[in-house]
């Protein structure tokens, strides 16, 4: 029997999501075909939803990446929270629209990554989703209180991710 996913409790302050900004109609110009194609490719990349997936398990990385890519999201996978923070803080993964991370990882946990992201003025608007193979109510509520967008139980199914992504306004 699938266990219910807990929804995040409404926080008093409203959260605004800032995503990749689409070009306004007034900015579009008439350009030669080749340049237009190049520009279209760039637009595609910048308007695509980009997810950073963090998990120390190679199997889980492959599965979550596949599920996200089959929904046409761009995915960058990393194997540790430390590496994820490095990439985010150094600006090496531009325009991340969502972080999805395993809870328990050696070194920095997903919970600690969540806290660091929410403490950072640069990163705090990025929704963070936690995944865990263990259904521990305290753990779930701690993550949600810390600002996690959602908490998914592993093994993650395509339906879990599509339900999640349909709620987030890209």
């Amino acid at each position: 029997m699938r266990l219910l996913r807990l929804r995040r409790r409404r926080r008093p302050c409203p959260r605004r999501w800032r995503w990749g900004v689409a070009p306004k109609a007034v900015d579009r110009k008439v350009v030669p075909v080749a340049a237009a194609a190049a520009a279209a490719a760039a637009d595609e990349v910048s308007n695509e939803v980009h997810v950073l997936a963090v998990d120390d398990s190679s199997v889980d990385r492959a599965v979550i990446a596949k599920i996200l890519r089959s929904s046409k999201y761009r995915v960058t996978t990393v194997e540790s929270a430390t590496r994820a923070l490095e990439l985010l803080c150094l600006g090496l993964v531009p325009n991340v629209n969502m972080i999805i991370t395993d809870y328990w990882m050696p070194g920095m946990t997903g919970y600690e990554l969540l806290k660091r992201v929410k403490e950072s003025s640069k990163l705090r608007e990025i929704p963070v989703v936690i995944m865990s193979s263990e259904n521990v109510p305290n753990r779930i509520s701690r993550c949600l209180e810390e600002g996690a967008e959602d908490f998914l139980l592993k093994p993650v199914r395509p339906s879990d991710v599509s339900r999640l992504c349909s709620r987030i306004r890209w």
């Binding site: 190679s58 889980d60 492959a62 599965v63 093994p155």
Partner: protein, 149 residues
């Protein structure tokens, strides 16, 4: 004719893997992801990653259990990893054995752990053989289809 025979074989193999409880719905989800995405290598990739992972973890656990003083926390951490990846790939039997294995870790029973390790190893080898046969059949079917075109 040969193509149909190969497909029947693959279908029978997959049916038996499901009915024997070797794999569960999660494995089916992975197959569906592969079929929907039109990316033929996905299941092979995940299965290979799982087998490499499992082999490494089983060897680490065996080494830990040979020590004069067993660190049950470390053993438990490895079993937890194996349980996680077996759940993600849909390896049901291995996953259930890992759950029992963790009990023995909690009880700090070396004998219990050694027994559970033997069971997990056998189940893993059995599953790995079936996965290998499955992948070989898929490759043969693809090669046959390609020749027909």
């Amino acid at each position: 004719m040969a193509g149909a025979a190969l497909r029947d074989q693959l279908s029978a193999l997959l049916s038996s893997m499901f009915s024997q409880g070797l794999v569960d719905e999660q494995f089916e989800q992975l197959q569906m992801l592969q079929d929907e995405g039109g990316t033929p290598g996905f299941v092979a990739e995940v299965v290979t990653l799982f087998c490499d992972d499992a082999e490494r973890i089983i060897a680490e656990i065996a080494t830990l259990l040979e020590q004069p003083i067993v660190s049950f926390d470390k053993v438990d951490a490895f079993v937890h990893q194996l349980k996680g990846s077996s759940a993600s790939v849909g390896a049901q039997k291995v996953k259930f054995t890992c759950m029992q294995f963790r009990q023995f870790c909690q009880e700090k029973s070396r004998d219990g752990c050694l027994m559970a390790l033997a069971v997990v190893r056998n189940e893993f080898y059995d599953l790995r053989n079936k996965f290998q046969t499955m992948l070989q059949l898929e490759q043969q079917i693809q090669a046959y289809d390609h020749k027909q075109q």
